[in-house]
């Protein structure tokens, strides 16, 4: 069908199809019907999905050549060409497939989820615009366009979190999301500036080919102390990833982003946008490999996120927030993998996670539809019999999330744990125990949610109960279609993606960091991995987590309240999310406003205007009021002054 993949038209079509859909649905909003809006956007994303399948096949099976071409030159200055261009290789083609598939599912699902919403067309326009932006991000062949896509997905995320713009909590959350991301972007743009300073180009291929020769550069940030340029560059770039991929302490925006409609929580805040940081670091592996300090930093940040955000999932009562904290924790796993130089494992988990987390979010959305937009799990229970498709797909998603042997998540998460175990970098011991403990926590909060929502006593009111029914087909079909890869994609692809040569042309790993190469020696296929998996520590921790959840929420539902009372302090810490929000609101936001007031009141109004400007005006006025005394208008005063002057002059002449 598309024989010539070195032709840019295929890639342009992938990118532009959703953009055109978005423009039609957005700009001609008032002139078109709802059906037209969802048809053009779904057609656009559908087309790009089909093309992405072909591209993926071409790269995965037909041994394709890497496509790296310029689309147009954005600007030239100082001899540096800043370009817009596409780099399509095995990593890109996989990302394209994941993004287009999840996006298509979400588009379909939205028809059902948003059917009563007055912003229906606007919503379709936004999610197609998001898809376009995400394509630009993953297809970029340079840092500039990466930043374009990076900020563009941030913009759409801003628009979508604040989709219900009358809700105070939503418009607070979207501003918070944008600003926290901007903190990350602050680091990111400095990282890009460092790249430009060192390499004098922003083109990936050129930068990576020169990377080794620049490994020993130093920079003097504080006079007298030399820093490794690579470490500085990588940490700055990673700060960007910390914002986008919600790593501690820049994670605070993600739970609040749940104010947006559920389909975008699935698409943007679980499956795709938040993984941009993971993608970026993987893309930059030739740079990150040159700084063990940066890798250790990444690993520790990831481990903290993986474990401590998992704890928070255990006490949440909003169905979407539980899944959101789970996303944070899973992003932490991916980040840990990056730090351990197991880039392939990070992307592998990114892919499996995209499917099962999108599934879990959409299933949560299906529950929310059934519950008439109630999101508090304490008002749910026993939904299994009312919503069988949602129930079974959720079960599959949950098993994938907790890494039940044989499911997708098992292969990716187990590989990360093993990879960290094999790493020798500073911080890898801490990271290993953190991700190991995380397995227990993941199982605990996932099954807690599952049991409370689908089993046990039916706690909803009579009215809700009377109307409880399975969601329409536009909702359940995406659930089923996402459940399939959630179960099988891991086992199907691990041999090639993780232990084969799928990423051999993309990811660069220093020999001393090659943990996956080490694991490969003990890898004997997915079946053997499953068999080994059921005898390993993570498996027992997972079973323990399931058992704990079962006891606490099925067998002895009165126990959680007792535990909560006896560990009041720990509960309070968790309930306040370790105090990050309070700190940011009081110290960071409050401090910033305080500085603003001080500078405005004292700097501008008092000192510059009050003292200098109006002060000099006043002193001129005062001085002239004195001088004015001399101008009396009496002739004899002037005559007297003349005589004095004359005497003075005479005195000068004489002496």
């Amino acid at each position: 069908m598309f024989e010539n993949y070195s032709d840019s038209s295929v890639y342009l079509a992938i990118v532009l199809a959703p953009l055109i859909g978005s423009i039609i649905a957005g700009i001609f909003n008032t002139y078109i019907s709802r059906a037209v809006a969802h048809t053009v956007t779904i057609a656009g994303v559908g087309l790009s999905f089909i093309l992405a399948v072909f591209v993926f096949k071409y790269f995965a099976f037909d041994d394709a050549q890497v496509y790296n071409e310029t689309v147009y030159t954005w600007l030239v200055s100082d001899g540096i060409r800043f370009e817009i261009g596409f780099l399509v290789d095995n990593l890109t083609s996989m990302m394209l497939l994941v993004v287009s598939f999840v996006s298509l599912m979400v588009h379909l699902y939205t028809i059902g989820y948003m059917q009563e919403d007055p912003g229906y067309k606007r919503f379709f326009s936004y999610i197609s615009l998001f898809t376009f932006s995400m394509y630009m991000l993953v297809m970029s062949n340079n840092f500039l366009q990466l930043f374009f896509g990076w900020e563009a997905v941030g913009l759409v995320s801003y628009l979508l979190i604040g989709f219900y713009y009358q809700k105070e909590s939503a418009i607070f959350a979207n501003m918070k999301a944008f600003l926290v991301n901007r903190v990350g972007d602050f680091g990111f743009i400095l990282g890009i500036a460092a790249v430009l300073m060192v390499f004098n180009t922003l083109d990936y291929a050129d930068v990576f080919s020169m990377a080794n020769s620049k490994a020993d550069l130093m920079i003097e940030i504080i006079p007298g102390s030399q820093w490794s340029m690579m470490t500085l560059m990588c940490i700055l770039l990673f700060i960007g990833a910390m914002g986008k991929s919600a790593q501690v302490p820049l994670h605070v925006w993600l739970p609040d982003s749940m104010e947006g409609p559920t389909p975008i929580s699935a698409l943007i805040h679980a499956a795709t946008m938040v993984t941009a940081g993971i993608f970026m670091v993987t893309r930059m592996s030739p740079l990150f490999e040159l700084s063990e300090t940066a890798l250790s930093f990444i690993m520790v940040i990831g481990a903290i996120t993986a474990l401590f955000m998992g704890f928070l999932g255990v006490i949440q009562n909003d169905i979407k927030r539980v899944v959101a904290y789970s996303t944070l924790s899973q992003l932490g796993y991916m980040t840990v993998a990056l730090g351990a130089s197991a880039y392939s494992a990070a992307v592998f988990h990114l892919m499996t996670h995209a499917f099962f987390k999108a599934l879990l979010f959409l299933a949560a959305g299906s529950v929310i539809i059934g519950m008439h937009h109630v999101q508090d799990i304490r008002q749910m229970g026993g939904l299994k019999k009312y919503m069988p498709i949602t129930y079974w797909t959720s079960l599959l998603g949950t098993l994938a999330l907790i890494g039940f042997p044989g499911f997708s998540g098992f292969f990716s998460k187990d590989s990360i744990i093993e990879a960290v175990h094999a790493s020798h970098l500073v911080g890898s011991d801490f990271a290993y125990y953190a991700v190991l403990a995380g397995v227990f926590i993941t199982a605990l909060y996932s099954l807690r949610l599952f049991f409370i929502v689908f089993h046990g006593r039916e706690r909803m009111d009579q009215h809700t109960k009377a109307h409880l029914k399975e969601s329409p087909w536009v909702v359940t079909v995406p659930l089923v279609l996402l459940a399939i890869p959630s179960v099988i994609i891991g086992g199907m692809t691990i041999s090639s993606v993780l232990y084969g040569d799928y990423f051999s042309n993309v990811v660069f790993v220093q020999h001393g960091h090659d943990v996956l190469g080490h694991l490969k020696e003990e890898y004997h296929g997915p079946m053997a991995m499953v068999l080994h998996g059921v005898t390993s520590a993570p498996f027992f921790l997972m079973v323990a987590g399931i058992a704990t959840a079962w006891v606490l929420y099925m067998k002895r539902p009165e126990w959680p309240a007792k535990i909560k009372n006896s560990f009041g302090l720990i509960y309070d810490i968790l309930d306040n999310k370790y105090g990050f929000d309070a700190f940011n609101e009081k110290v960071i936001a409050g401090g910033t406003r305080g500085i603003g007031h001080v500078l405005s009141k004292f700097g501008d109004i008092m000192i510059i205007d009050g003292f200098v400007v109006n002060g000099s005006a006043k002193s001129v006025a005062w001085f002239s009021s004195i001088i004015r005394q001399v101008q009396t208008g009496y002739l004899y005063h002037y005559a007297f002054a003349m005589i004095l002057g004359l005497i003075g002059l005479l005195a000068l002449a004489v002496f």
């Binding site: 030239v76 628009l159 009358q166 602050f186 500036a193 004098n200 501008d604």
Partner: protein, 511 residues
């Protein structure tokens, strides 16, 4: 066919003479005045287009040059011409002037003809300032344009307009007087060196100067231009002027008049006193960084939308002055001048981009003010519910103001940050803080004004934009997008001139 026309003079004098004609229509038939004004501004815009299309971007020298002796005793000439620095600014001026005429269309009912005439005359004077190749001619235009601006704020301004106009006038006048003294000194000095005095700016570029003389001249130029830009700490006239000015006045002030200061640095300070610029670059860089960060904080806490945008302008103009003076620090740090052009061109793009974005921001406030007669953020809330089309534009321009990639606001900031990193990590660090602060003050304002539930009865009865308002917003949005997505054509016209400038200022002028 028209190659013999004095095109540049036409662009300068069409609006001035047109403005006189508008005045002559008297104040009775305001519709005639308006139509005539629009026509004049459109003709001027049309005349300025060949300046771009026929501009030879491979040349660093002046183009469209015209020279007529004026005051021969002092070798003062009517000498005009444009290069890659002034041409984009002139086209920006003619474009914004059309917008300003449209913006005043239904809003100004008091002395409409005089209002329109003032803007047209101002337009011509500003173009003259950008085009002047003779320092005295430059000075005449530079001072003359204070008069229409003074009148615009003084007559059509807000309640506190007298304080604002006096402050505006004294501030700018104080700066320019010292500039005049420097120009006179240069004339005399040229007479000493060459036997004949000159006000020709390009000859002054070549004039050898001792370092201490350069430093004094540099400082007097700095004061003149710093007030116009405005740079911290001589910025406090701007928020007051903006608050009192009518919408059109704010638009011209922010979009074009501030650029005169930036233009002065590249036309006078850098090439005439390169050694002093090298000696004192730290001072300009310091003041620029203070402007970016300090003013960013101040903008955050403003309660008045116009003040907020005015402070935002000062902060954004900090990038302009920062970008201009990076050459020597880059050379010190990296051993090569690579990156200096990036900084200078980034600063130029920032000026053009800020012209469009600040114009749009002030127009947005104008759209709201015309309906509610308040600029206070607290009087608004939930405007999106009743004015969805306006809200879309407001969010778009807010994002552009916050430097979102894909809009013109990103291009200049990006280039300057890239260049600043080469000079010193901390320059880039402080400049990049604008990514956070700029987004914070802009989006917080948007949150409080545009989003949310309908705040009060007045907001509930707001009507969305008229066709006229929609049209001018659309024009500006297209310009912002065009430069953001494809800035190459804008930069291509600058390369030769900027390369030449960098080569010139890299060589010492000390005899």
């Amino acid at each position: 066919m028209f190659s013999n026309l004095p095109l540049l003079s036409l662009v300068i004098w069409t609006p001035i003479i047109g403005g006189m004609l508008v005045l002559a229509t008297g104040s009775k038939n305001s519709i005639e005045a308006k139509v005539l004004s629009l026509l004049v501004s459109l003709v001027t815009l049309a005349l300025s287009i060949p300046l771009y299309t026929q501009f030879d971007s491979s040349l660093a020298s002046m183009q469209f040059e015209e020279l007529i002796p004026w005051i021969t005793t002092f070798h003062i000439n009517y000498h005009i011409g444009i290069d890659g620095i002034s041409m984009p600014l002139i086209v920006l001026t003619t474009f914004i002037s059309v917008i300003v005429i449209i913006a005043g269309w239904e809003v100004i009912s008091y002395k409409t003809a005089q209002y329109m005439a003032a803007f047209l005359i101002l337009e011509g004077l500003m173009i003259g300032t950008f085009a002047a190749m003779d320092a005295m001619l430059f000075y005449v235009f530079w001072e003359a344009l204070l008069i229409p601006m003074f009148v615009i704020i003084g007559i059509w301004g807000g309640p506190n307009r007298v304080y604002a106009t006096i402050k505006f006038f004294l501030y700018t006048f104080l700066g320019s007087v010292l500039m005049l003294i420097s120009l006179l000194y240069l004339y005399m000095h040229a007479a000493d060196v060459n036997g004949v005095g000159t006000f020709n700016i390009q000859d002054l570029h070549k004039l050898p100067l001792a370092l201490n003389a350069q430093i004094l001249i540099f400082l007097s130029f700095l004061l003149a231009f710093a007030v116009k830009v405005p740079m911290w700490p001589v910025h406090t006239w701007l928020p007051d002027a903006h608050v009192e000015a009518p919408t059109g006045g704010s638009v011209v002030l922010a979009a074009i008049m501030l650029k005169l200061g930036g233009y002065g640095f590249v036309r006078f300070s850098l090439p005439i006193t390169p050694d002093a610029s090298m000696t004192l670059d730290w001072l300009v860089i310091l003041l620029s960084l203070i402007a970016i960060v300090y003013i960013g904080f101040v903008a955050l806490v403003q309660a008045d939308m116009k003040k907020l945008i005015a402070y935002s302008s000062i902060s954004h103009m900090g990038f302009v002055t920062l970008g201009f003076f990076l050459l020597w620090k880059i050379t010190d740090n990296t051993g090569s001048a690579s990156g200096a052009v990036l900084g200078l061109e980034g600063a130029m793009v920032q000026m053009i981009s800020h012209g469009f974005i600040s114009a749009a921001m002030f127009l947005s406030v104008g759209v709201l003010y015309d309906r509610m007669h308040s600029r206070m953020i607290k009087d608004y809330g939930g405007v999106v519910n009743t004015m969805p089309a306006f809200a879309s534009f407001a969010v778009f321009f807010a994002m552009a103001n916050a430097g979102l990639p894909g809009t013109s606001g990103f291009v200049g900031e990006f280039m300057v940050i890239m260049a600043a990193f080469k000079a010193n990590f901390w320059y880039a660090f402080l400049a990049a803080i604008t990514l956070i602060l700029g987004a914070a003050y802009t989006l917080w304002m948007i949150k409080r004004v545009v989003f949310g539930a309908i705040a009060n009865e007045q907001v509930e009865h707001l009507e969305d934009m008229s066709g006229r308002e929609f049209f001018m917003m659309l024009l500006l949005a297209l310009a912002v997008l065009a430069i953001g997505l494809y800035p190459a054509p804008l930069l291509d016209v600058m390369h030769a001139t900027i390369d030449n400038l960098v080569a010139h200022i890299s060589v010492s002028k000390i005899p």
